[in-house]
């Protein structure tokens, strides 16, 4: 996968996920309205929008995490590498191994730090022996920008870390499974500026091999890390385009109001 990292950023990438006419309902309430979006490979896509506009909901559609909510109903078509992920033949478990997720609230398992990170690789049999597993764990913790803080207490419980450390642990846990797409729901909302910078660096690094979708409430962060930006408002995808264009020259007046701080 590293052979691709030398490619120039400006190369137009292939489409990784393509969503067509997606509607999501929670019981009677219509949370996502007719959204069409193309998420490219080896690109960071940012979802922005006011609270409650459906960013998390849409993100969860991309790896079928909404299946776990009884009242949630999804219609439309979401293609991953050209295959409909809502097709009956698709195994959601397999899908989620390919499309990893970091949640809005850190949710480490009540296990040791090591076991938290080793969880995915163990389930999917990614390591042939203990040494390989150790290596994966260390590499993932380094990419999660938390290795230095926890290397001396890998066997302490993950729930004993601070909120920000827990979130970075969850990022490390998600990268350890080597997903093709990484969905991150406000990964930095509990982090200090230094850790945020480290996570952003990680995102930039991940872009070389994966497609990353990040939900964020920070305009600066969206501008810094993403190449594409999608603006959601009240369940509608208002505008989608190159980040530079959205932030400097938005087409829709609602986008402009939001990024300049007039609605939110």
């Amino acid at each position: 996968m590293n052979d691709m990292s030398t490619l120039d950023k400006t190369v137009t990438n292939t489409t990784k996920i393509s969503a067509k006419n997606v509607n999501v309902y929670y019981g009677e309430s219509h949370a996502i309205k007719d959204v069409n979006v193309e998420i490219e490979d080896k690109t960071v896509t940012a979802f922005i929008g006011p609270s409650g506009c459906g960013k998390s909901t849409f993100l969860r559609c991309l790896n079928r995490m909404n299946d776990t909510i009884d009242v949630c109903r999804v219609s439309g078509e979401i293609l991953l590498d050209g295959e409909d992920i809502y097709d009956k033949r698709v195994d959601p478990v397999q899908l989620r191994a390919k499309v990893g997720m970091v949640f809005q609230k850190p949710n480490p398992f009540p296990k040791s730090i090591y076991d938290n990170v080793a969880y995915g690789p163990r389930i999917h049999g990614l390591a042939r022996n203990k040494a390989e597993l150790d290596e994966i764990v260390e590499k993932s913790l380094r990419r999660g920008a938390i290795w230095d803080e926890v290397k001396d207490r890998l066997h302490a419980p993950g729930t004993g870390l601070s909120g920000g450390q827990q979130q970075r642990l969850c990022i490390a846990r998600a990268v350890a499974t080597e997903p093709e797409v990484l969905l991150m729901d406000e990964p930095c909302s509990a982090l200090d500026p230094i850790a945020t910078a480290q996570v952003e660096e990680l995102i930039d690094e991940l872009r070389a091999s994966y497609s990353v979708v990040i939900v964020t409430h920070s305009m600066q962060q969206a501008a810094r890390v993403s190449q594409k930006t999608a603006f959601f408002h009240l369940g509608n995808l208002v505008e989608f385009g190159n980040t530079g264009q959205i932030f400097t020259n938005p087409e829709d007046p609602r986008t402009e109001s939001y990024i300049t701080g007039r609605i939110g």
Partner: protein
């Protein structure tokens, strides 16, 4: 005046106090309720309560204390030589009370006048016969000392009662007067009533606690009596349970404890896996429709009285097991391992069935308390449902589940009806689950039913057994609650 009417009188005075207090408060504010510190009714309550509570308190104390004092005085009147061989002062005193009661009844029914009673001489009149007429049967003729004591008993009771009525009424009136005179528009009646409400609640709480302490103390007391009559080494370390009424019983708890633990173990072996799997299915896999239907159904199991489970053990499970492991209708396996329907296995299986809803509903609560975010985290990494349950949900819920299992164990140990009907009555050490065995609870029942004499070790042993059982289950409960509570804090 009978005590009942005294209580009614107190209530009437208190009600009058309510009306008076309310009026006085209103008039002190010139009829304008807004000028009062509290709502007018509070002034009324204050006066009413000040009337009622101290008077009732005195009444209760008096009713408890008076008989004791009189007993003391009267029993001093009976000379030591008047106590016949083979009885005790306590027995003589109960005769005295019976005679005194009989005389009271005779007077009340008009068979005798109080004048006649006062002038009665046991030497001349047939007291036993006269009392027999009013339905008080006496075992033997009344001896002069007993009769005199009974007379003294009656007269002290009568004076005591009169004094009580006067004292209680006085206290009520004083309470009324004091609180009435304090009532004016600035008096903080609302705060006073608030304190009274709190006192009432504290009283209720302490009654519950005191009863528990009382029960434990009475058990302790009887247990001490038992250990006065029987050696404690035999009780705790002996090997045989063989009560008889010749006075050389062997009363060891160990065979009973073995039976209890063995049956409880089998019950848990049945209840824990089934209950836990049911809970996992209901909380992780079942859809809302199944859940809404299956959960109440399981809880109905918990509402079945244990005697019904006992019948089930006796009529269904026992014969079924005999059919499998014995020669009942020629046996399924063709072996001859089991002859009677009562056995450790019968009781254990049925008790296990009884515990299933208990384990499953506790585990269900605990599993549901594991945050959804934890499951999402695991599912989001591409784990299946069962991997998630096994590796994330169960480890997180484990301490709570262990607590639930301990609670179930303590119920199993204390369970009575099922073992009475399903386990048999033979105390022995045996590892064969197809034999009948007995438990601590069933032996308590059998030692205390039928003709009993509360002075023999064969009867008193029941209290020692009960106390041991209590300590055992209390220990388990405390441990379980500790574990469950520690676990609860984890997510709060």
């Amino acid at each position: 005046m009978p005590t009942f009417w005294l209580v009614i009188l107190l209530c009437v005075i208190a009600a009058a106090g309510y009306v008076l207090g309310r009026q006085r408060a209103l008039s002190s504010a010139g009829g304008d309720a807004r000028a009062l510190h509290s709502l007018p009714a509070y002034y009324g309550y204050n006066v009413g309560l000040s009337t009622l509570v101290p008077a009732l308190g005195l009444l209760v104390v008096w009713l408890l204390a008076q008989p004791m004092l009189i007993e003391n005085r009267v029993s001093g009147m009976i000379p030591a030589e008047a106590i016949p061989e083979g009885t005790t002062l306590g027995l003589v005193m109960s005769d005295v009370r019976r005679v005194a009661e009989g005389l009271d009844i005779a007077v009340a029914e008009g068979v005798l006048t109080s004048e006649q009673v006062r002038n009665m001489r046991s030497e001349f009149s047939d007291i036993r016969g006269r009392l027999g007429e009013v339905g008080v049967a006496l075992g033997s003729d009344v001896r002069p000392e007993v009769f005199n004591a009974a007379q003294a008993y009656r007269s002290s009771s009568a004076t005591g009662h009169t004094a009580m009525v006067i004292a209680v009424a006085l206290v009520a009136l004083v309470g009324l007067g004091l609180s009435y005179s304090k009532t004016n528009k600035d008096f903080r009646a609302r705060n006073t009533v608030e304190r009274a409400v709190m006192a009432l609640l504290i009283l209720a709480a302490s009654l519950a606690i005191l009863t528990t302490i009382g029960i434990v103390l009475s058990m302790l007391f009887e247990t001490r009596n038992f250990f006065g009559l029987h050696s404690w080494t035999d009780f705790f370390f002996g090997g045989t349970w063989a009560p008889n009424f010749r006075g050389d019983s062997e009363l060891s708890i160990l065979p009973l404890l073995w039976g209890t633990l063995y049956i409880s173990f089998i019950a848990l072996l049945v209840a824990v896996p089934i209950g836990l799997f049911a809970a996992i299915y209901l909380s992780e896999y079942a859809g809302p429709a199944v859940r809404a239907f299956a959960k109440p159904l399981l809880e109905i199991l918990a509402g079945i009285p244990t005697i019904v489970y006992g019948l089930f053990a006796l009529l269904t499970v026992g014969p079924l097991l005999v059919r499998i492991f014995g020669q009942g209708e020629n046996g399924v396996l063709g072996v001859e391992w089991m002859s009677g329907a009562t056995s450790v296995l019968t009781a254990g299986v049925v008790m296990g069935i009884m515990l299933i809803p208990f384990v499953s509903s506790l585990s269900d609560d605990i599993i549901n308390a594991v945050p959804q975010a934890m499951r999402d985290g695991s599912l989001g990494l591409g784990a299946t449902k069962s991997e998630t349950v096994r590796q994330v949900v169960l480890p997180a819920a484990l301490p709570g589940i262990v607590g639930a299992i301990l609670l179930a164990a303590s119920r199993a140990i204390g369970e009575t009806m099922i073992v009475v009907m399903g386990a048999g009555a033979i105390a022995k050490f045996s590892a064969n689950p197809l034999e009948s065995m007995t438990t601590i609870t069933t032996r308590i029942v059998s030692q205390l039913t039928g003709d009993t004499d509360f002075a023999s070790p064969e009867t008193l042993v029941a209290f020692a057994l009960g106390l041991t059982l209590f300590v055992l289950t209390l220990g388990l409960n405390v441990l379980a609650l500790y574990i469950v509570r520690k676990y609860r804090e984890q997510y709060d």
